[in-house]
Symmetry: D3
Subunit: 129 residues, 6 copies
C-alpha cells in the first residue's frame, strides 16, 4: 500500500498514458523487489512531476530525454523514447532534439543517443525522414 496513494494512482495513470502495459512491467519488477522504491518512482517521478501543470507531456519528454542523453543514462532511453512518441512528439522532433544535443552535449553522446533512437524507431516500424 503506497505511502502516498493519491500520487501513486496519478503515477499509474501517467504511466498508462505514456507507455501502456509493457512499460508497467519494469515498475512491476521494482515493486516486487522493494515496494518503497517503486512507490517513490511512480508517485514522485511520474505522479507528482509529470502531472503538474504548465508543461505538457511533450515538453516534459523533451526535458527527460535531454537529461538522459546528457547523463549518458541510456538504460532508460528506450522507455522514454517510446513514451515521447506515445504522447505526441513526432519522430522528427525527437531526432532534432538529438541533433541539438550534438552541439550542446557533444557528438559522442549524441551518437549513442541516435543509435537508441534508430533501434526504437525500427521496432516501431517508423522513420524520421
Amino acid at each position: 500500500m503506497s505511502r502516498d496513494p493519491v500520487n501513486y494512482n496519478k503515477g499509474i495513470e501517467v504511466l498508462n498514458e505514456m507507455v501502456g502495459a509493457p512499460g508497467l512491467q519494469a515498475i512491476d519488477a521494482f515493486q516486487k523487489f522493494y515496494p518503497d522504491f517503486a512507490d517513490f518512482l511512480v508517485s514522485f517521478g511520474f505522479g507528482e512531476i509529470y502531472s503538474r501543470e504548465t508543461l505538457d507531456y511533450k515538453q516534459r519528454e523533451l526535458i527527460t530525454l535531454t537529461a538522459l542523453i546528457t547523463q549518458g543514462a541510456f538504460e532508460q532511453m528506450t522507455f522514454h523514447l517510446n513514451a515521447a512518441l506515445n504522447v505526441g512528439l513526432t519522430p522528427k522532433e525527437i531526432v532534432e532534439l538529438v541533433i541539438h544535443c550534438a552541439a550542446y552535449v557533444g557528438f559522442p553522446k549524441a551518437c549513442s543517443a541516435m543509435t537508441h533512437v534508430m533501434n526504437v524507431f525500427e521496432q516501431r516500424g517508423i522513420t524520421a525522414i
Copy 2:
C-alpha cells in the same frame, strides 16, 4: 571573415533575437581572442542548430537549459535563462523545468539551477508565481 558566412550571419540574427546586444558582447570577447572559436560558436551552435526547423526556439531553450543543468555548466545559465524568457518561455515554464530536473537530475543540481533562475528573475524584476 567567417569560414561559413551564411550560417555565421544566421547565427548573429539568432543571437540578436534571443539575447540582443548585451549577449553579443560575450561573443565579441571570443571573437577578439580567437576568431575561429567565435566563428564555430556563432555559425554552428546558433546559426545552424537554432535556425533548424521542426523545433522552435522555446523548445530548443528547454533542451539547452536542461543540458546546462545536467552538466552543471552554470556559467552559461544566465545567458540562456535570458534567452529563454526573450523567446517566449514563461517564468513559470522555466521554474517548472527546474522542478522536473529535481527528479530527473537530482535535487543538488536543481537547487543550483534555481538559484541562477532567482538571480536572473530578480535582475529582470519578474516573478514566477
Copy 3:
C-alpha cells in the same frame, strides 16, 4: 500550505537537526520564490529521504557528500559539510571521504572538495588532524 504537510514537517525537523536556523534561510529563499520547489525539497529531499530507517544521518551524509563531489555540485557542499559535522561525522571522517574520492572520482574533484572542506573547517575553527 504544503501538498504533503506530514513530510514537510518531518523535513523541517530534519533540517533543524542537521543545520539549524542558518541553513533554513536557504530554504526560506526558495519558499518565497516558488513555494512548490521548497515544498518538494523539504518534504521529499529531507523529510522523506533523510528520516527513513536503516541508514542513519551520518551514513546519509557520506552518501550525499560523495554524490555532490562526484557531480561537482559544489554549491551545496558548504551546507552538507556543516550538516555532516552537526550530525556527528568527525572532521577526520569527512577528510578521509575526500581522500577516498581521489581514487574513485579522480584527483581534480577531490582537490575542489578539499578546498571547500578547508573553508568550512576554518569557519568553524576546527582541524582534521
Copy 4:
C-alpha cells in the same frame, strides 16, 4: 614485481576479504595485459585507500557505490555490490543507498543502479525486504 610491494600485498588482502577469488580474476586479466595498471589499481585503489583507518570497509563501500552510481560507472557495480555485501552492508542498507541517490543523483541513475542490485541479489539468492 610491484613498484610498491607492501601496498600491493595489502591490496591483495583487501581484495580477498572484499570479493575473494572470483573478484581477483578481473585483476588477473589486467595483470596479464599491463602489469603497471593492475599494480596501481591493487596497491593504490585497494591497498592504500581501503586499508586506511577512520572509515571502515562498510563506510567505504557506501562511498564507492555512490561514486559509481553518480558517475554512471555501472561496469564496476557488480564487483562492488558483492564487496558491499561481503563486508557486512545489509541488503536493505544497499537498497536504501540507491533510494537516497534517487533524490540526490536523480531517478534515472537510481533506476539503473537498482537493476544491477536486483541482478546481484538474485544471483546470491537474497532479498532486501
Copy 5:
C-alpha cells in the same frame, strides 16, 4: 547532398585515413536514417575539427579518447581506439593515457576504459607490453 560539401568530403577523407571502410559503416547507418545528422557528424565532427592545423591526428585522438573516458561514453571507444592506433598512437601510449586517467578521472572509469582497450587490442592481435 551535404549542406557543406567541402567539409563533408574532408570528413570522409579523415574517416578513411582514421578507420577505413569498416568505420564508414557506422556513418552509413546514420546517413540512411537521417542524413542531416550524418552530415553534421562527418563535416563538423571529422571534416572541420580533425583537419584543422596545429594539433595532429595523434594529439586529437589523445583528446577524444580522454573525453570519451571522462564522459563514460564507451560506445564510441572501439571506433576511436582503432582510429588512435591507425593514426600512429602506439599501444603503449594508449594504455598510458588510461593510466593517466586513473588519477585524473578516477579508477572506475579507467577500469572500464582498460577493458575496452584490451578487447580492441585482442581483436587486432597486439599487446601493449
Copy 6:
C-alpha cells in the same frame, strides 16, 4: 614525512618544472591542513603519473586539460593552463584543444574553458593568434 618519499620528491620536482613556486603554494595549503592528502596528490598524482615514460608532459597536459574540461572541474583549470604553457604547449595548441572539445564535449563546457584560457593568457600577456 611522506609514506612514499621517492615518489613524493619526484612529485615536487615535477611540480617545480610544471608550475614553479606559485603552484607549490596550493600544495602547501593542503600539506598544512592534512598531510596525507598532499602526500597522495604530490606522490601519486604528480610523482608517479607525470614522471612515467611513453607520454611526455605536453601530451599529459593535453589529457589533463581535456579531463578537467569534460568534468567541468574548472577550479584546477588555471593551474594546469599555466603548467601546459610552462611545459611547452603553445597558446595555439591549447586553444585548439578547447575547439576540439566543442565538438566532443559540447559548446557549453568549451565556452567555460575558453573563458579560463582567456584569463590565464591575459595574466601572462600572451595571445593565441
